[in-house]
Symmetry: C2
Subunit: 209 residues, 2 copies
């Protein structure tokens, strides 16, 4: 679909048809399309848990204000943002670095400069959190658009008990979970409400310098 | 442009043509298109500084590892993520709330529940930071795609001295700056290098549950 139309068509829907499945092949295509998202130094510090199990979805619903859509939608994607994604010896970091050498974007002798820069920017609780959430949420937005482009619907969920979710799903400490994304088909028995208000240019732009 | 093509066409380019301007009308259309981005409770905690001044760009270049593209590109967008965007009496919060009442999505008597839920989720240093960066970076990704869809090029920049930037531009304390986005036209005298490696489905998905 044309991008401008897609931006209007993508809506966060509240009602999903539990009878309409999300084919695995379609989901894989969506995720690989979203993988083209840019990230700082191409570190791609995002991972997903793909939840289809009714039993796991029931537990997720409990820790997310009992929202029925979590059980109704066939798939819940749990976005994991990797606070360690910039560290030397992280496998993705090493692969991204080697790729940039292979493509001629950097040289092996730049490595110590890079490691120092990354430490300076990200080696703190706040720095690593911003690094992880920023890049993962670029990916999260791409996911929402790729879902809509595949003719499916979604709803991002940030209203959940983070501590409980991490415990339930045994998410390792290096990850923070900025959102879950419920994916499925809008329940055609329901009516889609009108689009909500959005800020105008003048409300977004604080200052022109 | 068709979304799947756009995802492939959007590249973070390093060389901008200083002679090719970004028309104000085009920029406004890009920003308004990106404004369709979803956010938790529709709170849209994003603002921008639009920098065109050569003198301000020179100062930004200094605090961002001396990257020439900051001066070469006609526009630098500084993304501000509002950590207070969920607080009662914040004008955007109040407008979003009233809009949801007007559209029938909520009722006035839900307000104290909502304020309590928001406080529980966001009223901490970490909670407000994740809230602000998550939603603003959804918007940031939409911006990058809207820029590409308008036939322009961009480069997201996270390698800068945050403290210095906040001081230089007198950014109020309620904002954190997750990125700058350099916007312009690729310098056709340069050659665009090959696309970098991206993680596959299996590298992104940690677990299927």
């Amino acid at each position: 679909m044309e991008f401008s139309e897609l931006m209007k068509k993508r809506r966060s829907v509240n009602f999903f048809d539990p009878e309409k499945p999300v084919e695995q092949g379609v989901l894989e295509k969506i995720i690989e399309e979203a993988s083209l998202t840019p990230s700082g130094f191409n570190l791609q510090p995002w991972n997903l848990l793909v939840v289809r199990s009714p039993e796991v979805k029931k537990r997720l619903r409990k820790i997310a204000w009992d929202q029925p859509k979590i059980e109704d939608a066939p798939v819940v994607l749990v976005l994991l943002a990797d606070k360690d994604g910039w560290r030397p010896e992280h496998p993705v970091m090493e692969k991204a670095w080697q790729d940039q050498i292979d493509l001629g974007y950097t040289k092996p002798e730049m490595r110590s400069w890079f490691d120092g820069a990354a430490r300076q920017l990200f080696d703190s609780e706040k720095g690593s959190l911003i690094f992880a959430v920023r890049n993962s949420c670029f990916f999260g937005m791409s996911l929402m658009l790729a879902v809509a482009n595949a003719g499916l619907d979604s709803h991002p969920i940030s209203g959940f008990d983070h501590e409980a979710l991490v415990a339930e799903l045994e998410v390792p400490d290096n990850f923070v979970v900025p959102m879950m994304l419920v994916v499925g088909h809008f329940d055609e028995k329901q009516t889609l409400g009108p689009a909500k208000w959005r800020k105008s240019y003048d409300e977004i732009v604080r200052q022109e310098l």
